[in-house]
């Protein structure tokens, strides 16, 4: 159609908004990363220092640690949430009538803001005052403080994150399950698949795109969200729970080092965009294959 010249009008408002609230600030932040720009340094003057911030970053072991921690957090969290979410979705989708009532209930944890979820985590996991912490102590599962122990702090955060986000994944997967085509199931039944085979050979492959969407959203969030961790452990004990988001937050909002903080985030940003692009492409390939 000769609507080509009208295309601009369709996208213009969004383009302007996008430019103003995302692109310009982002580019501004990028310029920070080439400056020495910190309020907590008596020698920082905001001058252009080229790639010094990036050079510093290359030798920053804590930065590498934060990447390691991010993956230690991300991978089990996503696996756990995927499995639990799937289980939940299977149960919900087992009968649509049940699903209707359950979905708002299931989403309740998602509606508590991350700060609150983190706070509740801190409170309930406390071995002295918290209901879960006391049970863990009583059962002898954890000696001492869950969040004060490097080996249990990250699992605890994963658990809290899982509590908040599993329902979200479950809702996406439920939607996926409800939308799955009937035919391959019938084919599989006739082909002789028992329920377990049906699940692994039919349901799972068909549901994969939904998994990838959930994965995509969660991966992005895992690199963005710092509130839960900040409230629960501030990256501690030691740096056992210091993810890249927490690390970047610390540099930007604790040290007020916008130069280094921005450089950190730019690197993270490039990293995630590659990761997301990979996932997104995988998703598209998958759809193309269907």
């Amino acid at each position: 159609m000769s609507s080509r010249r009208y295309i601009l009008w369709w996208v213009l408002p969004a383009a302007i908004l996008f430019l103003v609230i995302i692109l310009i600030p982002f580019v501004t932040a990028l310029t920070f990363s080439f400056r020495s720009f910190s309020f907590t340094s008596s020698v920082s003057t905001g001058q252009y220092i080229g790639v010094d911030n990036y050079r510093k970053l290359v030798f920053d072991n804590d930065f590498y640690n934060s990447f390691r921690v991010t993956f230690l957090y991300l991978v089990p969290a996503i696996v756990l949430q995927g499995i639990l979410g799937l289980g939940m979705a299977l149960l919900i989708a087992g009968a649509v009538r049940r699903a209707r009532v359950l979905i708002p209930i299931m989403l309740l944890p998602t509606l508590l803001t991350p700060v609150v979820i983190g706070l509740i985590g801190v409170l309930t996991l406390n071995p002295d005052f918290g209901v879960i912490g006391q049970l863990l102590k009583k059962w002898g599962l954890v000696q001492g403080s869950v969040l004060g122990n490097a080996s249990t702090a990250l699992p605890a955060i994963i658990a809290v994150d899982t509590y908040q986000w599993t329902p979200f994944i479950a809702v996406i997967l439920t939607a996926g399950l409800l939308a799955l085509p009937k035919e391959p199931y019938e084919a599989a039944q006739v082909d002789g698949a028992n329920p377990i085979q049906t699940f692994f050979r039919v349901t799972m492959p068909l549901l994969w795109p939904y998994f990838i969407v959930a994965l995509l959203i969660r991966v992005i969030d895992a690199f963005r969200i710092f509130d839960i961790i900040w409230v629960m452990t501030r990256g501690g004990p030691g740096t056992a729970t210091e993810t890249v988001a927490v690390y970047a937050y610390r540099h930007t909002f604790r040290y007020w080092d916008f130069g280094y903080g921005s450089a950190l985030i730019m690197v993270i940003f490039v990293f995630i965009s590659i990761l997301v692009e990979y996932l997104y492409k995988a998703l598209q390939r998958w759809q193309a294959a269907q």
Binding site: W10, V11, I24, V96, V115, T124, I172, T174, A175
Partner: protein
């Protein structure tokens, strides 16, 4: 064939009975598991709810208090005395306006992405998706300066626009896939029926993605509702959303747990209500087959 012979031997009546009862057993087990999951995910929430009716002494007791006389003090203190009920209204204003703005702006854009031969379309689209993850930490200062210059600080405009940074990409991303799922013939039909492109979009296509829009809006509202950093730094006390105010209840002389819980549970109610009211649309919207990306 031997393999078939093994697999398909005739089944004796006894086997049949057990097969039937095992199916029934499976149903019961699935009911049980569902109940268990509901409890597992509802319990902490209910626990939080219960803490809102406890005093600090009861909350921070070395022995867990299971039975107590509920107090409304936390609710009265935080909602009325501190006046934080206004913050819930603020949250509603911010979340609903941001989402509404992004829907109004983003949906036509998503449609354009789905239908028009935009040069470099996929790259643009991917870029939008990528910026969904631009961390608030990095955008906060530039946005603060920007909004200060635009005299938006202290108005609802600031948090609303800031929430668009993640809502707009989300809306465009998901809505595009909804549109992609609608056959282009529908557009073609409406246009040959005498409708202009815009009229086609309004009258023929939009009604189709209604529940999709509801689902996207609900999720966006949840994200917006939970957003913390922008809501904190780009607002004044008159415009601050509730999520960003909660840390003010963490005090050096002790976190006001009762008030935190009272506020958090109260604050989640409007959205819970929304979801409850729109659940049918939500499920329909999500199972559009569209959130596949």
């Amino acid at each position: 064939m031997s393999v078939e012979a093994q697999t398909f031997r005739p089944i004796s009546p006894a086997n049949k009975a057990s097969a039937l009862s095992s199916r029934r057993l499976l149903t019961y087990v699935s009911y049980l598991l569902t109940a268990l999951l509901v409890v597992l995910f509802l319990f902490p929430w209910l626990w939080v709810l219960s803490l809102g009716f406890k005093t600090r002494a009861e909350i921070m007791s070395p022995n867990i208090v299971w039975f107590w006389t509920p107090t409304l003090n936390n609710y009265i203190e935080v909602l009325i005395n501190k006046g934080y009920w206004r913050l819930i209204i603020n949250s509603l204003i911010v979340a609903v306006s941001a989402v509404a703005l992004c829907i109004v702006i983003g949906v036509p854009t998503a449609y354009a992405f789905s239908r028009f031969p935009i040069p470099g379309k996929e790259s643009w689209f991917y870029m939008i998706l990528t910026f969904r993850m631009a961390p608030a930490v990095v955008l906060a200062l530039p946005l603060y300066v920007l909004f200060a210059r635009a005299k938006l600080l202290g108005t609802f405009g600031a948090p609303i626009l800031a929430h668009c940074t993640f809502t707009l990409p989300f809306v465009i991303w998901l809505m595009r896939s909804f549109f992609d799922d609608i056959p282009k013939e529908i557009d073609a039909a409406a246009m040959t029926d005498g409708y202009s492109r815009w009229e086609t979009f309004l009258y023929a296509i939009l009604p189709l993605v209604k529940s999709g829009i509801v689902a996207v809006a609900l999720f966006s509202i949840i994200f917006s509702w939970n957003e913390f950093l922008y809501g904190l730094i780009l607002t004044s006390d008159a415009t601050r959303p509730v999520a960003s105010q909660i840390p003010s209840l963490i005090r050096p002389h002790g976190t006001l747990w009762g008030e935190v819980c009272a506020l958090a549970t109260t604050a989640s109610l409007p959205v819970a209500f929304l979801i409850f009211a729109l659940q049918r649309q939500l499920v329909r919207g999500l199972s559009f087959g569209a959130i596949k990306g």
